[in-house]
């Protein structure tokens, strides 16, 4: 024991034994103090505010020395009741809510939700090809920006600072595309039931083409830094092991499942949004470890770029096609455009409803305030998000509001594998294992 007393690192007696509070600072005194006790078993509470736990995730680790004997996750710190809230808004407003669930993959949340609403409405085949291709392009850009956070923060948590700088540089380029297309960088509410909110602005395709070129060039920086890097390999190879049997019983999908060698990707297995028309590969490894998942994410970046390039070619041919279903009972009446502060109403539309057509005003008012009715029934739509199967279970009672919206978020499910990956390992490896699952707490807690 040192004579120095740290106000933030004190200890107190409880009915469960002595509890030590540590918030950074001098660990030596703590180690000395714990070493002096007779207790062999130490329960370490990591989080919910620990910077290495990927947001407000709480990990309760039972330790025997440096070895973890038991792991439990505490979640719910970011529960916002989005599913409940959507039951009090109309079907179109729901997009604005669900986009905020998994905040690193907003376009996926929106698309999964809208595919579900369209299936309930029975208009899946009426969505124009241009709208679908724009959705695919935005999803693949989103996959890149999400993987960039996964790689960047994952590396940062293992002590590698430079990959994070590179990753966020690339992510910024993708967010610029989002801003150009939707007016917003995150939580865009861009994909709407029946199509997308607005068409691409003029000159978008050439900027996208340039961005793809830049990204492909820039990805090499992180590849050179990490692939084959002996320190990186020592921290990640053989760590966080989870094999195929573990993945199937735990319902794990996404890069974690593909790191067991199984090429299961819903874009290939159960195509949606016309993914069967695109040429791309499903990268896999069979190492079942953190390094394998890292390699898969790196390779998926290139596959996403390939898909985006094919989207650009398609979009050139589909120039001028509408981006919303023709049915005016479903299509949002206003034609939106990107303004200086994000999305807004087009002035032409306001001129029409305020000055020219009373019927257009009534139609606009009723559709926006009441919303459209969705025939009763239930659907489950699933898409391949950056983290695995993102499933949406929608129930309609035939009204203008959802009866039940449930998101089967891949982060929520995959986080269950933390114990299987960490127990028997060292504390430092917990960080690597959790980073390789890539949980986003907004999606976990919803």
């Amino acid at each position: 024991m040192t004579t120095f007393t740290d106000p933030y690192a004190s200890s107190q007696e409880t009915t469960e034994g002595r509890v030590y509070s540590v918030t950074g600072g001098d660990w030596d005194s703590l180690v000395t103090e714990i070493g002096a006790t007779k207790e062999e078993r130490v329960v370490l509470n990591m989080g919910p505010q620990h910077p290495s736990t990927h947001g407000v995730l709480r990990l309760v680790l039972e330790l025997d020395g440096e070895t973890i004997t038991e792991t439990r996750c505490g979640i719910g710190y970011l529960h916002t009741g989005i599913e409940k809230n959507t039951e009090y808004r109309n079907w179109t407003q729901g997009v604005t809510f669900v986009t905020r669930m998994d905040y690193l993959s907003p376009i996926f949340n929106e698309t999964a939700y809208c595919l579900g609403v369209e299936k309930l409405l029975g208009i899946t085949n009426d969505v124009t090809e241009r709208a679908t291709v724009i959705r695919v392009m935005m999803m693949e850009f989103n996959r890149i920006s999400s993987h960039m956070v996964a790689l960047g923060t994952g590396a940062l948590e293992l002590g590698a600072l430079s990959p994070m700088i590179f990753a966020f540089r690339e992510r910024e380029k993708v967010l610029d595309i989002f801003e150009m297309v939707s007016g917003l960088r995150m939580n865009m509410a861009y994909v709407r039931p029946g199509g997308v909110a607005q068409d691409l602005p003029a000159g978008a395709l050439s900027k996208i083409r340039q961005t793809v070129k830049d990204l492909r060039h820039n990805f090499k920086d992180n590849e050179k830094l990490l692939i084959g890097n002996s320190i990186w390999i020592k921290r990640t190879q053989g760590i966080g092991y989870l094999d195929l049997a573990g993945c199937t019983t735990l319902g794990i999908t996404g890069p974690v499942l593909r790191s067991t060698g199984l090429a299961w990707d819903l874009r290939k297995a159960q195509p949606y949004c016309g993914y069967e028309d695109y040429q791309f590969d499903i990268p896999t490894t069979d190492s079942c470890d953190v390094y394998g998942r890292f390699l898969i994410r790196m390779q998926e970046l290139e596959q996403s770029l390939r898909i985006i390039e094919q989207c650009v070619v398609k979009l050139e041919k589909l120039e001028g096609q509408p981006v919303m279903v023709a049915d005016k009972k479903i299509a949002w009446p206003s034609q939106l455009s990107v303004g200086a502060d994000g999305m807004g109403n087009s002035l032409n539309h306001i001129r029409e409803i305020m000055g020219e057509s009373m019927e257009a005003l009534i139609h606009h008012f009723k559709l926006v305030t009441e919303g459209f009715r969705v025939p009763a029934g239930q659907v489950y739509t699933a898409i391949e998000s950056p983290r695995g199967e993102l499933g949406v279970h929608l129930v309609s009672d035939g009204g203008t509001r959802p009866y039940r919206v449930h998101f089967r978020d891949p982060s929520f499910n995959n986080l269950q594998s933390t114990a299987a990956m960490c127990e028997g390992g060292q504390i430092a490896d917990v960080i690597a294992a959790v980073a390789s699952i890539d949980p986003v707490m907004g999606g976990v807690d919803r």
Binding site: T248, T249, L250, T253, W264, G371, R373, A376, R408
Partner: protein
Amino acid sequence: MNENGMFGAKGSGDTSGFGGLVNTVANIGSTERPFGGYFDQVADDLERAYPLFSDAIEKVVVDRGELTLFIKRDRLFDVAKILRDQLKFEMCMGVNGVHYPTESGRELHAVYSLISITRNQRIRLEICVSEKDSHLPSLVEIWAGANWHERETYDMFGIIFDNHPGLTRILMPDDWPGHPQRKDYPLGGIDIEYKGATVPAPSQRRSY
């Protein structure tokens, strides 16, 4: 599907929201064979593998290209085990609840989504229980991944999964009263005053 004009108005055509319009949940009836697609094959395989099929399955619904098997609560565990072991539905994508307060005796529905990688097929299981006796067998023993999903369904709907290894709240705090996703649980929220007018809380606004 009924066509009730552009905005679904009935009777007087009052869609102002003041007419006290009441939505009733449409009960989709059961589907008769042939179900179409791979659904007949799934039903055949299950019938062959499980002799008590007709007793265990309340009804089969095929709607919008998706297959739902309504299963009796007492048979759920057996059916799930056969679905995994013999029909190769290796993964359970989770369970979630839906609350239908008007269906007396069957207020709470638990909805499971299963996927088979071997067959590349999806099915859905639905089990109805009453609010008073909201017990279901836990499927954690069959699919370990159902663990957190069952905890969430318990947390949000109050469905009790018997034999679950640790059925505690997962998203709400441990001492939280009530089950927030039930329809009789209030959304909360307060009225907002804005430029002299009052905007009611979302749950107090007109619905159509």
